[in-house]
Every structure is written in C-alpha cells, then in structure tokens.
C-alpha cells in the first residue's frame, strides 16, 4: 500500500508521453487542503478529448503502459501500488476548467498535479451526494479556502441554485 508510488507512476506516464497531463481529484486531492480523508480509490482526471476536434483520444496506451509495468485491471480500476486508480475524463466544462487550472504540490519531494480547493468544492457542489456536501462543508470551514474565488466559479458555471440551497440548508 503506497500511494506515493501511484504519484510517481503518474509522473512517469507524463514523462513517457502516455499522458498529456493529469490532475488528482476526489478525496486524495482534498486531503492536500484538509485533514486526511479516508478513501478507497484514487481519482485521476486526464484529458481524453482532443480539444480542437472534440474527438475521443484512444485511452488504450494508458492501460497498455500500466499493464507493461505489471499493474492489473480490476473492473474500471487499475491496481497500482495496492491502490485502485480510476482514470476519468473531466466532468463537463467545470471539470475542464479544473484540469486546466490544476496546481502542482509537493509530496515529500514528488511533484503532483491536483485540482484547486475551490474547483474541488465547486465539483462537490455540482455532484451533490451526501459525502460531497460534507466535503464542501469542510472546505468552507478551512481557513485556507478562498470563498470569493469559489463563488466566482459558482457564478461562471451556473451553480447558483445548488449554492443557494446548500447555504440555506447548512447555514453557511
């Protein structure tokens, strides 16, 4: 069980040209900004669309590269260093923006690209499952969270109804 090894593998995939770029999302990315959040998988956002012609890029090189390294497919996941890793296309325009503006963090000397706190919070608001609402609450309580930047995303990606509902329910 070694999530740091997952990050090294992702960086290797970029160096080898298998991935154009990537950004961690979900609980692992949220853990950078908040306290450690228990999770069973690693969400990795990758660009699976050619931006110019919107055609789907063949994802098979990703899985071929990982298979060659001895990593095994299990359902929609690839098992890397004991962690199920899921490669995802960014969900909608908000996801595309999040991937474009992802930031680089340091994990004990390993650079890792991950979504910003404000994008993670906006995606949580958009997704709206109970665990997403809990995570959004955690972001809002965090002293490092930039609420005005988050509310700009809410405005830009038409999430005002969800945000009004959330604010009303949780009194934030």
């Amino acid at each position: 069980m070694n999530i740091a090894g997952v990050l090294q593998t992702l960086n290797e995939m970029v160096e080898e040209g298998v991935l154009e770029t990537y950004a961690l999302g979900g609980a692992v990315a949220a853990t950078y900004y908040l306290e450690p959040i228990s999770t069973m998988d690693v969400d990795v956002f990758v660009r699976l669309y050619d931006q110019r012609n919107k055609s789907i890029i063949d994802p098979r090189p990703i899985f071929a590269f990982l298979s060659q390294k001895g990593h095994v497919m299990e359902g929609e996941y690839v098992m890397v260093e004991g962690w199920p890793v899921q490669f995802l296309a960014p969900p909608g325009e908000l996801g595309e923006d999040a991937l474009d503006l992802a930031e680089v963090a340091d994990a004990s000397g390993t650079p890792v690209r991950l979504l910003t706190a404000e994008h993670l919070a906006a995606i949580a608001l958009e997704t709206g499952r109970p665990k997403d609402k809990l995570r959004l609450q955690m972001f809002i309580e965090s002293p490092q969270f930039n609420r005005s930047k988050f509310e700009e995303l809410v405005e830009r990606f038409d999430l005002q109804p969800q945000w009004q509902s959330f604010k009303h329910t949780f009194e934030v």
Partner: protein, 62 residues
C-alpha cells in the same frame, strides 16, 4: 475528560486543523494506513470457533 459538547467540538476542530497542517507526504501515509485498516475491517470475519477477530494490520505493514 469532559462532557461539555462545546468544548468537545472545539477540541475536535483544533485537532482537524492540526491534521490539515501536516505535510502532504505525511497525510498520504495516513491515507495508506486508513485504506489498509478499511480493507482489514471489510475482510474481517468473526471466528466461529473462538468468537474473536484477527488483529488489525500494524502501522509497519506495507
């Protein structure tokens, strides 16, 4: 030990903030440990003969 809910909540908040300030590499190691423990809990079965469950993985387990 206190039963004062306000104090308990404040202490929890302080502890969460302390965890959030850890270096990312340290937090990732905690995620490794949490996943190992989750997997153990999911797979643990109470022994039909002894009524006990096996020990959880230690922190040094891979």
């Amino acid at each position: 030990m206190t039963f004062d809910i306000v104090q308990i909540n404040n202490e929890k908040k302080t502890y969460r903030q302390k965890l959030s300030r850890l270096p990312f590499g340290d937090k990732l190691k905690i995620l490794d440990q949490m996943r190992a423990r989750d997997l153990w809990i999911r797979s643990a079965q109470v022994s039909k003969t002894t009524g006990t469950i096996p020990h959880p993985p230690s922190k040094s387990d891979p």
